[in-house]
C-alpha cells in the first residue's frame, strides 16, 4: 500500500470527523440560543400584564362636609381634609345597597390607596372644585387589576365573591378602562404594585453610572497610556500589570466591602448615595477599562509613532495627537462594556446601603438612591403577586439599556475602527 492509498483510506473517516465537529459547534450555539429564547420569552410573557393598568371611573362630589372643611376653605385647610373618606364615599355611592361595615371596607379596598392622594392633588391644584361634582378616573387596587387580567376568574382568590361581583358590575357599566401603564415609568418605588415605578431606580442608575464614567474613564485611560507608552520595563511595572489583571477577576462584593470601609467609614460619605455607588463601581470598572485601553493603544502601529517623532513631535504630542485618537474606538468600546457591566451590578451596592426602599426620586449625587438591578431584586422579593409582572417588566427595561449600550459599542467599533 502506498501513501496515496493510505490517505484515501482514512479520508472518509476524516470527513466524518470534520462533519461531527461542525455539528457539535452548531449544537452548542443552538443550545445557547434555546436558553436565551426560553429566558426572554418567559420574561416577556410574565412582563406583559405590567404594561397595562385598569382605572375606575368615579363620580366625585367634593362636598365640604365629607371633606370636613369650611365652605370657603383655604389651601392650608384643604391640605388637612379627609380625602380618604371622600374616595370611599365615591365608590360606595355606586353600590348604595352595600350596608355592612365589613363589606363597605372591602368595597373601598378595590380602589388603589393612591386615590385619596390623587383627589387631594386635584383639589389643591383647583380649589374652586370644592362643592362640585367631577368625573374622576382613579387607579384600581392591584388585586382588582389582577382580577381583570386573569382569564380564569376562579383563580383570582385575592378578591372575595362579593368583590368579584362588584368588579364585574363596574366593568359592565363601562366604568373600567384598561390603559397603558405610564406609572411604571413616572413613579418611584412603592409597596402598592399599582403605584410602583422604576423612575427612581433609573435615575439612581443614571447618577451612579455618570460618576463611574467621569472617574473611571480618565483614570483608566491615563493609567493605560502611562503603562503602554511611558513606563519603563522593569519588575515593578510587571507587578502592577499582574495586579491589574487580578483586580479584574476579584468578586464584586469585595469592592463593596472596600467601599464601606474607605468611603463611608473613613471619609464619612453618606450611605445609599449614588456618589459612593459610583466610586465603588469605578474600582470595579477600572481594570476592564485599563486592559481594553492598553490593547487598543498597543494595536496602533509603531510606524505612526515613529513618523510623529521623526518630524519633531514630543512623546506627549505623539500620544495625544496621534496614538490616542486612533486608539479611541477601542477604548470607548472597552469603556462601554465596562459600564454595561457596572449597570447590572448589585452585590457591591448591598454593602453601601443602596439596596433600600426609596420612594423619592433622587435629585443629585448625594440623595439616597437605588439602581435598576436592585429594584428588580427588591420587587422579586415582595409578597404581592402583581410584583411578579413588575419584576419582569423592570428586567426588560434593564435588558433594553444593556442592548443599547452594547449596540453602541459595536457601532463605534464598526464606524471608527481602522485596521492596518
Amino acid at each position: 500500500m502506498n501513501n496515496t492509498e493510505l490517505i484515501k483510506k482514512g479520508l472518509a473517516k476524516r470527513y466524518r470527523r470534520e462533519k461531527r465537529f461542525r455539528a457539535y459547534g452548531l449544537m452548542a450555539i443552538l443550545a445557547g440560543f434555546i436558553f436565551l429564547f426560553v429566558l426572554v420569552t418567559d420574561i416577556v410573557i410574565k412582563a406583559t400584564p405590567a404594561f397595562t393598568q385598569h382605572w375606575i371611573k368615579l363620580e366625585v362630589n367634593f362636598n365640604p362636609e365629607i371633606l370636613d372643611v369650611g365652605k370657603k376653605a383655604g389651601i392650608d385647610e384643604l391640605k388637612q381634609a379627609n380625602y380618604n373618606l371622600l374616595a370611599k364615599k365615591s365608590i360606595r355611592s355606586l353600590f348604595p345597597e352595600v350596608k355592612k361595615r365589613r363589606d363597605k371596607s372591602k368595597l373601598a379596598a378595590m380602589l388603589s390607596s393612591s386615590a385619596e392622594y390623587q383627589l387631594r392633588d386635584m383639589l389643591l391644584a383647583e380649589p374652586y372644585l370644592l362643592g362640585q361634582q367631577q368625573t374622576v378616573w382613579v387607579l384600581a387596587d392591584d388585586d382588582v387589576d389582577t382580577y381583570y387580567k386573569t382569564d380564569d376568574k376562579s383563580k383570582a382568590v385575592r378578591l372575595n365573591d362579593k368583590q368579584k361581583i362588584w368588579a364585574d358590575t363596574l366593568a359592565a357599566d363601562g366604568r373600567v378602562s384598561k390603559r397603558l401603564n405610564t406609572t411604571l415609568f413616572t413613579n418611584g418605588d412603592s409597596r402598592e404594585p399599582e403605584q410602583a415605578g422604576i423612575r427612581g431606580a433609573a435615575t439612581g442608575s443614571f447618577y451612579t453610572i455618570l460618576v463611574t464614567l467621569l472617574l473611571s474613564f480618565p483614570l483608566g485611560v491615563a493609567a493605560a497610556i502611562y503603562l503602554e507608552e511611558f513606563a519603563p520595563r522593569n519588575r515593578w511595572v510587571d507587578l502592577i500589570e499582574v495586579n491589574i489583571n487580578n483586580l479584574a477577576a476579584v468578586p464584586s462584593i469585595v469592592f463593596g466591602l472596600l467601599g464601606l470601609a474607605v468611603f463611608i467609614n473613613y471619609f464619612g460619605l453618606p450611605r445609599s448615595a449614588p456618589l459612593v455607588g459610583g466610586l465603588v463601581l469605578t474600582l470595579m470598572t477600572l481594570p476592564t477599562i485599563i486592559i481594553a485601553s492598553r490593547s487598543a493603544i498597543k494595536a496602533v502601529p509603531p510606524s505612526i509613532r515613529q513618523a510623529a517623532l521623526g518630524i519633531g513631535a514630543s512623546r506627549t504630542q505623539t500620544v495625544f495627537q496621534h496614538v490616542l485618537p486612533l486608539a479611541m474606538p477601542g477604548i470607548l468600546t472597552g469603556t462601554i462594556i465596562g459600564l454595561a457591566q457596572a449597570l447590572g451590578e448589585t452585590a457591591p451596592l448591598l454593602m453601601i446601603g443602596m439596596v433600600a426602599f426609596i420612594v423619592d426620586i433622587p435629585h443629585g449625587f448625594l440623595d439616597s438612591a437605588t439602581v435598576l438591578p436592585v429594584q428588580i431584586y427588591l420587587w422579586a422579593d415582595s409578597p404581592e403577586r402583581a410584583f411578579v409582572a413588575k419584576t419582569s417588566a423592570a428586567i426588560l427595561v434593564l435588558l433594553l439599556f444593556l442592548v443599547v449600550m452594547n449596540g453602541l459599542a459595536v457601532l463605534l467599533r464598526k464606524k471608527f475602527e481602522r485596521r492596518w
Binding site: 409597596r191 445609599s272 446601603g353 426609596i358 420612594v359 415582595s382 404581592e384 411578579v388
Partner: protein, 345 residues
C-alpha cells in the same frame, strides 16, 4: 493628566460638601420580616406629610442592630426593625457606644406557616411531629432516654396519620429571623413535649438548646434562601414538599399554597391574633432617642406607625398580613411611643 487631576478635584469637593450637610431623611434598617410593613408606613408617611419618605434598608434583625448600635450621629440609622426582641448583649453594645436611650415599639405579630401546594392534601401536624421530622437528633422510638440521629424518612414514619411522602422541607437559612423564630417556637415547642428533655433545661441550658434547636443536615431540610417567593414557586412544582415562611406570603399566595394545621389550629388571621395558632412572633422597631430633633420627622413617623389607622383592627397594615395587638396593648404601646419612654433591660 489634566483630566485625572480635575476629576480628583471634583471628588474632593463633593466629599467636602458631604460632611457639612446634615440629613433630612429618616434612615431605617433591620429585619426583612418587618420591611414589608415599615415600607408601607414610610410611603404613606412621605405622601401625607411634608417630610421626606424615610429610607429603609432590609439588613436582617441582627445586621440592623449592629448598625443601629454603632453610635450616635447622622451617619448611623435612626430606627431599626426587628422580628425579635433586642438581645441583652445588643443592648449592652448600644449602651457602650453611647446609644443610651432606646425606645422600644411593639407593632404586632407575624405567624410562621408550614405550607404545601394546594394540589396536595392539607397536612395536620403537631409541634411534636415537626420536631421529630426536622430535628438533627431525636429521642429513640423505644421510649428510652437516648438521642439518636434522626432516622425518619417519611412523614408516615413520624406519625402514622400523616401521608407516606418523603420529608422534604424548604426553609430559611440560619441567618434569618424566621429561622430563629421557627426553631424557638415550633421545634422547641415539640421538643418540650418529651419530659426528660424538658428536665435537661434546668440542668444544662446549653445542651437543651442544642437538642431542641438543631435542624437535621441530611438533606430533608433544604435551605432555600431568603426569597420566600422562590419557596412558593418550588412548592407549586413539587406537591410533596413543605415550605416554611411568614404568614404574609401565605396570605398573598392563598391560591397556590395552603397552610398546614399546627396543633389543630389553621394559620389564619384570627387564630394567630388570639394565640390559638402556636407559631407566631412579635415584631418590633427601636428608635434612637438622641436623634429626635436632629433628623426631622422621627416622632411623626413613630406616631404614624402606632396610629389606629395603621395597626388597628381595620388598619392598612392588616391587608399586608400583620397580626394586630389587642386594643389595650396597642394603647399602652402608643402611650410609650408618644412619650418616647426609653426601655431598660
Amino acid at each position: 493628566m489634566n483630566k485625572l487631576l480635575s476629576s480628583a478635584a471634583i471628588a474632593l469637593i463633593l466629599a467636602g460638601n458631604v460632611q457639612a450637610a446634615g440629613r433630612d431623611t429618616i434612615s431605617i434598617v433591620g429585619s426583612s420580616t418587618v420591611y414589608p410593613f415599615a415600607t408601607v408606613v414610610a410611603e404613606r408617611f412621605g405622601k401625607s406629610t411634608s417630610f421626606k419618605t424615610p429610607k429603609i434598608e432590609s439588613t436582617g434583625s441582627g445586621g440592623g442592630m449592629k448598625l443601629f448600635c454603632a453610635g450616635i450621629g447622622i451617619d448611623t440609622p435612626d430606627i431599626t426593625n426587628a422580628s425579635r426582641r433586642i438581645k441583652s448583649s445588643e443592648f449592652e453594645t448600644c449602651q457602650s457606644n453611647g446609644v443610651k436611650e432606646v425606645v422600644e415599639v411593639l407593632i404586632g405579630y407575624d405567624g410562621i406557616v408550614l405550607a404545601n401546594a394546594k394540589t396536595a392534601d392539607r397536612l395536620k401536624l403537631s409541634r411534636k411531629d415537626i420536631f421529630l421530622a426536622l430535628a438533627k437528633n431525636v429521642p429513640a422510638a423505644d421510649g428510652s432516654k437516648q438521642l439518636i440521629a434522626n432516622p425518619y424518612k417519611t412523614w408516615k414514619d413520624v406519625n402514622p396519620a400523616l401521608p407516606a411522602n418523603k420529608i422534604e422541607v424548604l426553609g430559611p437559612p440560619p441567618t434569618s429571623g424566621t429561622r430563629d423564630a421557627f426553631s424557638e417556637l415550633a421545634l422547641e415547642g415539640g421538643c418540650k413535649t418529651f419530659d426528660w428533655i424538658k428536665a435537661i433545661k434546668a440542668e444544662d441550658k446549653h445542651r437543651y438548646k442544642s437538642i431542641c434547636h438543631s435542624i437535621r443536615e441530611d438533606g430533608a431540610f433544604i435551605e432555600a434562601g431568603e426569597n420566600d417567593n422562590l419557596i412558593v414557586q418550588k412548592l407549586e412544582a413539587n406537591p410533596k414538599a413543605v415550605g416554611i415562611f411568614g404568614f404574609s406570603f401565605l396570605d398573598q399566595n392563598s391560591d397556590k399554597v395552603q397552610g398546614s394545621l399546627i396543633d389543630g389550629a389553621e394559620p389564619e388571621f384570627e387564630t394567630i391574633a388570639d394565640g390559638e395558632y402556636p407559631v407566631s412572633r412579635p415584631l418590633y422597631f427601636y428608635v434612637k432617642k438622641a436623634h429626635l430633633g436632629k433628623v426631622p420627622g422621627i416622632a411623626e413617623y413613630v406616631s404614624a406607625f402606632t396610629a389606629e389607622k395603621a395597626v388597628g383592627d381595620d388598619g392598612y397594615l392588616l391587608d399586608k398580613g400583620l397580626i394586630p395587638l389587642d386594643e389595650e396593648k396597642r394603647k399602652q404601646v402608643r402611650d410609650t411611643a408618644t412619650k418616647m419612654l426609653p426601655m431598660s433591660m
